[in-house]
């Protein structure tokens, strides 16, 4: 039986597909099923293959011939599947069956086909079947199956899964039981399923009520506890870390937290008001406030309450504000952080909580009284619950909460978030914000030492006033302990460990789309691009500038990320649509910091080749990868105290520099950042950076006037063997390969242009007429390698042309680099170094036109409204390309090729600005064209 049927089924593959994919074949398979109702060792392979074939026919039928579904339904074939499953037929059959079902439901595209499959409740029976979930593979296929089903949910199909009358929704309730499964892929699938369910529930009132009344509280309270437990583990991981050994685990825990936040946010943006109220309440009162925010406060207070350390709390709160933008949630959260928490003054202990738990919104982080599975079970049999209830339940309030009738529950849930909001509304009196502004302005004049304490006093009075204004009888003095903590953390002189988190938090709060701008205005933290502000938070601005100043010190302990964030925040504070409102005194301080940063780079300025490359590379990577705070806060490594060693694998901007090279890089970056900030605040354009601007360069297909330019004819042989005739021309910064322009005599079309500074030239061993030339493009991302844009052998007409070309390229390279170095020197206000002449690279011609590069590097294109820039430009006037050429033509008369040719430039640091010959002080930078004859 086994052998024969097997070959029948298997043999079908060889034949035309029509035979297998047909109603007749389905009929045959049905026959096989009826003959094998009991699974045995002998027939299990046959059964598996039969089910698989049926699936294939069904999918084929869905796409080609729907009559197969009629037969499938008529014969009730799903029952056979279920029957096989229920026989405890073993792992192999189970996995195969689940896989097949997966494939079946995934590939069915017609709604009617789907209805056929879903009718009769068989699918629900499979969902509630008790599989062996300890088996990893069965678990994976099972949860994938549920996920596939959840993707098929819509307004019509939902009725096959959710039964209004029996209050049954197996797909959802079975899935959420695995919300804390150890396998991450399973948890992801559970989240997907719930999100798909919530999305459909928005349009289905009955289902929505079911989800909210019967499952939301148990699910969300367990979820919140699960997240909180991870957070405590995370904190523990930070506290117990030694020598950064916990980084791997830490990064997983952080990623886990992010996953949760994104998940919560995804639920919130489905925008199902019912659910959002319950979820917001749980998040705020059971997690964010009691665990995160209360931990900002003095760590010794609060008794036995679970706590996390300050950096962890700041870090996690930043993540919350970066990810979740649900207005009621973020505003309530910000309210407590910025204004303190009136309910906190009641200082509930664990016991108080239990006694007074009838009151909604008790803020504490406590374990749900029963497991999710049990809660769901209880909800199902609601009538019997009172009997089951025992008097010694730990948290009576929770219990009652769940027991309340649906309507009552709804009311209460709706009230909860309002309760938190209520407190905040009371404090919003109209005159208040102005008042705080004034006070803070006064405050900033006082010494910093007293700043935080007196601010606290001030706040207290404020709150008293507002409390009185709202008729609140509470005379308790409550402060803004959290805000104080925030400011205090910025003052830490030793390092920026806490400061970075505080800046991130402020940034995140002010960029949060759900945040009410008024809330932030009260601490004068404006949202980006806020209109019509006339003042800013001086306290904060001063702290930011202090960080900048600190960063510009040689031994500053400020990381680049902190500096960049400070710059961002300062800009956000003082830049308005109508201009910059920074106070002169603050601008002066900032200029001081910028000046310091110039000194710092000067210290590292060297004539060595590598400095130029570093300088340009830092500029490139800084502009190409501007700070993304969300990405920054995804990195767990910043949770551990700042370190300097790259051996940790921590990104350069998130740690302190190690060694001279990194110190140089850091100094360059600090300089760039402060320069950019200073220019922007003074409303001046950047005219000097980058050193090479894309638009100034010669590009492929440009047409150049090459009359009187030096051109060398050559044959260019690329790596793939192709051969072209070109003329080689050397400009100030670039070498280019041109071919004659047919329309204009003496003009040429650029076929290739590459930077001289990135070029390597080597001779060819057995051919004195040939050169190997490679030009690399600097890597654009850390994942890619530098990529050669040119890699070719150049063959010239004779060895003299070859030597000329080699020299011209070599010298051009040195000159190009030197010119850039001098522009850097100008940027750093360094004394002008005498331009040294490259040996044998003289100017043989006397007509000025001959010295003009193909293109003018027009001074005015770089603009110069900036006085300091102007100064530096003048100081180095003869170092600026174009200008230099025009100025210095007649000062020079060294004959062409008068000196021995320089060594090959292939990568050697030859002829650096400071170390090479200074024989002709004051000599100009000669432009590239030399006296060599053009062979054309």
């Amino acid at each position: 039986m086994f052998g024969r049927s097997r070959s029948w089924v298997g043999g079908g593959h060889g034949k035309s597909s029509r035979n297998i994919h047909s109603l007749d074949h389905l009929k045959y398979l049905y026959h096989v099923l009826t003959k094998n109702t009991t699974v045995t060792e002998q027939n299990r392979n046959l059964l598996v293959e039969t089910i698989r074939s049926i699936t294939e026919i069904l999918i084929w039928g869905d796409q080609n011939d729907s009559s197969v579904f009629d037969f499938f339904l008529e014969k009730n074939m799903f029952v056979f599947f279920l029957n096989i499953l229920r026989q405890k037929s073993g792992r192999y059959v189970c996995v195969q069956l689940l896989q097949t079902l997966n494939i079946l439901f995934e590939n069915i595209s017609h709604e009617t086909s789907l209805y056929y499959l879903l009718s009769n409740n068989y699918v629900n029976s499979i969902i509630v079947h008790k599989f062996d979930f300890s088996d990893e593979e069965i678990m994976a296929y099972y949860i994938s199956f549920l996920k596939t089903l959840s993707l098929k949910l819509n307004n019509h199909t939902v009725h096959f899964f959710y039964n209004e009358h029996t209050n049954d929704f197996a797909l959802y309730t079975e899935a959420i039981k695995f919300f804390n499964h150890p396998e991450s892929m399973v948890r992801i699938a559970v989240r997907t399923i719930t999100l798909n369910v919530y999305k459909v529930s928005v349009d289905n009132q009955a289902m929505l009520h079911y989800i909210r009344d019967k499952t939301a509280v148990p699910y969300f309270s367990n979820l919140v506890w699960f997240i909180g437990s991870h957070v405590i583990e995370l904190d523990n991981c930070v506290q117990t870390d030694e020598e950064h050994r916990n980084r791997g685990k830490l990064s997983d825990l952080v990623a886990e937290h992010l996953d949760h936040l994104h998940y919560l946010n995804d639920i919130l943006i489905i925008n199902c008001e019912f659910l959002n109220d319950v979820l917001t309440d749980h998040l705020l009162n059971r997690l964010f406030l009691p665990l995160y925010v209360y931990s900002l406060e003095n760590q010794d207070k609060g008794g036995e309450r679970p706590k996390i350390s300050l950096p962890v709390s700041l870090y996690l709160l930043s993540q919350v504000f970066l990810i979740i933008h649900h207005a009621p949630l973020v505003n309530s959260l910000a309210e407590v952080i910025l204004n303190g928490d009136p309910s906190e003054m009641h200082a509930k202990t664990e016991q108080d909580v239990q006694r007074s738990s009838a009151q909604p919104s008790i803020r504490c982080f406590i374990k749900p009284t029963e497991s999710l599975e049990r809660s769901l079970e209880m909800n199902k049999h609601k009538g019997k619950r009172r009997v089951q209830k025992r008097p010694n339940y730990k948290n009576v309030g929770e219990e009652e909460d769940e027991e309340k009738g649906a309507a009552e529950d709804g009311q209460e849930d709706a009230e909860k978030p309002k309760g938190t909001e209520g407190g905040s509304k009371g404090t919003k009196t109209s005159g208040e914000s102005e008042e705080i502004e004034m006070v803070i302005m006064e405050r900033s004049k006082l010494s910093e030492v007293t700043a935080s304490t007196s601010m606290q006093e001030q706040n207290t009075t404020d709150e008293e006033k507002s409390a009185a204004a709202t008729g609140c009888s509470e005379s308790v003095q409550w402060s803004r302990p959290f805000l104080d903590m925030v400011y205090h953390a910025l003052d830490s002189p030793e390092d920026d460990y806490h400061a970075l988190f505080v800046l991130c938090l402020l940034y995140a709060m002010s960029h949060n789309k759900g945040m009410d701008p008024e809330k932030l205005e009260r601490i004068q933290l404006p949202v980006p691009n806020a209109a019509e502000k006339t003042t800013y938070n001086h306290l904060l601005a001063e702290r930011l500038i202090r960080i900048m100043n600190n960063a510009a010190q040689p031994d500053g302990k400020i990381r680049l990320a902190t500096l960049e964030l400070s710059c961002l925040l300062l800009k956000q504070q003082v830049l308005t649509s109508s201009g910059c409102i920074i106070k002169d005194v603050h601008l002066a301080c900032l200029e001081g910091a910028r000046e310091e940063s110039v000194h710092l780079v000067r210290h590292f300025y060297k004539g060595e080749e590598i400095f130029l490359d570093m300088f340009e590379d830092e500029y490139r990577s800084m502009t190409m990868k501007p700070m993304n705070v969300e990405y920054l806060m995804m990195d767990a490594s910043i949770l551990l105290p700042p370190t300097g060693t790259p051996l940790t694998g921590i990104d350069f901007v998130k740690r302190l520099p190690c060694g001279d090279v990194e110190k140089t890089r850091r100094a360059i970056r600090v300089f760039f950042m402060l320069r950019a900030l200073s220019l922007q605040l003074r409303g001046e354009p950047e005219t000097q950076l980058p050193l090479t601007r894309e638009e100034d360069l010669i590009k492929t297909d440009d047409v150049l006037d090459l009359n009187n330019s030096d051109l060398i004819a050559c044959t260019v042989i690329t790596k793939d063997g192709s051969m072209v005739q070109r003329f080689l021309a050397v400009d100030i910064y670039q070498m280019s390969l041109v071919e004659p322009d047919v329309s204009r005599l003496g003009w040429g079309v650029v076929k290739f242009a590459g930077l001289l500074q990135d070029m390597q030239v080597t001779g060819v061993e057995d051919d004195s007429r040939a050169l190997n030339i490679t030009i690399h493009k600097p890597a654009s991302s850390p994942h890619s390698k530098p990529f050669p844009i040119l890699q070719a052998t150049f063959v010239f007409s004779d060895h003299i042309r070859c030597i000329i070309a080699k020299q011209r390229l070599a010298k051009g390279r040195i000159q190009a680099r030197r010119m850039k170095m001098q522009r850097i020197a100008a940027l750093l206000d360094l004394p002008i170094q005498p331009a040294t002449e490259v040996l044998g690279f003289g100017l043989g011609s006397t007509t000025p036109t001959q010295h003009l590069p193909f293109r003018f590097y027009d001074q005015c294109r770089r603009g110069s409204s900036d006085p300091t820039v102007q100064r530096s430009v003048f100081a180095s006037v003869d170092k600026v390309p174009g200008f230099a050429v025009a100025q210095c033509i007649n000062q020079h008369s060294s004959p062409p090729l008068s000196s021995p040719s320089p060594p090959s430039t292939s990568g050697s640091p030859s002829g650096s600005g400071t170390t090479s010959h200074c024989d002709s002080a004051g000599a100009s930078l000669s432009s590239t064209p030399s006296a060599a004859q053009s062979p054309s």
Binding site: V48, E56, W60, Q63, Q99, A140, T192, G248, M634, F787
Partner: protein
């Protein structure tokens, strides 16, 4: 003793219809033969392969259908040791979106994650909109492995998955992946020796069916 590893992989592609689920089915279950009037795919699959004499189990998860939820795609990236980015060579729009996906993938994943770029539907040469050279250039610029495949003709399907697995395997050998950290999507351990045996057994007994697991 055979070393068992689990690689979890992800298909990442926001467009439906590029044929990634067909690729996956093609790789994990040989019993479903591609025929012209039947398009069939799967979103999850597992298969044993052998690299360097070692038994390796691949678990492949597809991100299909979850694109509207950022949390879900995010988590998938993270749990994976490797990813296959699939585009459709007959649809330029699917190619144009690669940069965005890649940015996401790099940001959310372990930086060591092996990423393979796949241009699918290479059988439809006449309708080709994206040149092979373009795919190659993109891969080179972003440090990816590149291959063109066809789920219909099964061309390069094995190679695509197995090369990705090999690359991951090499990274493990180099010690780039922390194999003790399951969050990387790699699991090694004797506790799976038993499961292995089962796999090997069912593999052998199923030659006619050519099934997996």
């Amino acid at each position: 003793c055979p070393l068992s590893m689990f690689f979890r992989k992800v298909f990442l592609n926001s467009f439906s219809g590029v044929g990634k689920s067909c690729l996956l089915l093609q790789f994990t279950d040989k019993r479903f033969q591609p025929v012209h009037d039947l398009t069939i795919g799967v979103e999850f699959g597992a298969r044993m392969i052998t690299i360097d004499g070692k038994q390796i189990k691949l678990q492949i998860w597809d991100t299909a259908g979850q694109e509207s939820f950022r949390s879900i795609t995010r988590s998938y990236y993270r749990g994976a040791a490797g990813a296959l980015l699939v585009y459709d060579i007959t649809r330029r729009d699917t190619f144009n979106h690669l940069t965005t996906w890649l940015e996401d993938a790099r940001q959310h994943s372990n930086s060591n994650m092996v990423i393979m770029l796949i241009g699918n539907k290479s059988d439809l040469e006449s309708r080709r909109e994206v040149k092979k050279e373009e795919g190659e250039a993109f891969a080179r610029e972003h440090g990816l492995i590149f291959m063109e495949t066809s789920a219909k003709t099964a061309s390069n399907v094995e190679e695509a998955f197995i090369n990705t697995a090999k690359e991951i395997y090499e990274k493990i050998q180099e010690g780039v992946f922390d194999i003790n950290n399951e969050a990387n999507g790699i699991k090694i351990g004797p506790q799976h020796a038993a499961t292995n045996a089962t796999h090997a057994g069912s593999q052998g007994g199923q030659q006619a069916g050519g099934g997996c697991c």
